[in-house]
């Protein structure tokens, strides 16, 4: 049975709460950024595109980035508390979690930089859209989908 549903030792609860809360906040920030980026993509008026681009950038920088760290620190904490580091080989669900956390973190960092540059360029140029923001839209959507798969794998544990 999954650790999320199980009645587990008390000292596992807080690290799990930190991990789950960080992950949920991260998904929320990514969802906000994706929604804003798609609106920035669709908008014809510069003011709209600049507003949504800036909103996406701030969501990623001020909410998604700190949440990633909370999720990641919580993950290591519960990993050692559960004694998973003593296993000879990581189970599949844990592998999925690690790959998406690390890979998604890297893509998130790139997305923050691109979104910041894109929003800034859009505000300065007065253009209607930004290629950088469109690239960010694709990247952040990939990260969001990857994290949804990770949530499914970590909770359902398909082994």
């Amino acid at each position: 049975m999954s650790v999320l549903a199980a009645i587990r030792p008390d000292d596992w609860n807080f690290p799990l709460l930190v991990h789950v809360l960080g992950a949920a906040l991260l998904v929320g920030a990514l969802l906000t950024a994706v929604a804003a980026l798609f609106l920035a993509w669709r908008r014809q008026r510069n003011a709209d595109a600049a507003f949504f681009g800036r909103l996406a950038f701030r969501s990623l920088l001020f909410v998604a980035f700190p949440s990633w760290w909370i999720m990641r620190i919580g993950a290591e904490w519960i990993y050692s508390r559960e004694g998973l580091d003593d296993l000879p080989e990581d189970p599949d669900w844990l592998g999925i979690g690690y790959i998406t956390a690390e890979g998604g973190g890297l893509l998130l960092l790139v997305s923050i930089i691109l979104a910041g540059l894109g929003a800034r360029r859009l505000a300065r140029s007065g253009g209607e859209t930004s290629t950088l923001l469109r690239v960010t839209t694709v990247l952040v959507t990939i990260v969001l989908v990857a994290y949804v798969v990770a949530v499914w794998a970590m909770s359902g544990k398909p082994d």
Partner: protein
Amino acid sequence: MELYDWLLALHVLAAFSLVAALVLYSIVIVVSRSLTVPSDVSRSFRMTRVGDVAIAVGSLGTLILGIWLAIDSPDYQVWDGWVIAALVLWLLSMETGRRTGEFYNAVRDRARALVAEGRDAPDSELAGKLRSNTGLLSHAATVVLILALLVVMIYKPGA
């Protein structure tokens, strides 16, 4: 994966959807507090459409799948104290969430009406509502209740 694992994975995904919607609403509320022009307010609240879908999926998913899980699991029952506490918190959060939605939807509709009338100058009444504590406190109560719900689900007090 067995039925129980699928139910749990979907239940957790629904919970993530719920929290993600709250993060999105929080960001929109914070951003909107500094706005005064009706078209800016109307633009900002376009973001909430995504949140509306996420909150519907999250709230119904957590309730239905949560009850199904409690029935399916041999380890706990629907009438266990922590399950009842979670149900009460869910109900309370739905009520505070409904009040928050009612307040901010009225503000959004007022902004749209002003734009439709061609009155797109800074509006002190609109700005006053966005900066008032009525909607903010109601939203903060929803966030606290959902956080308490998450704590109950992880700690399972009394189980």
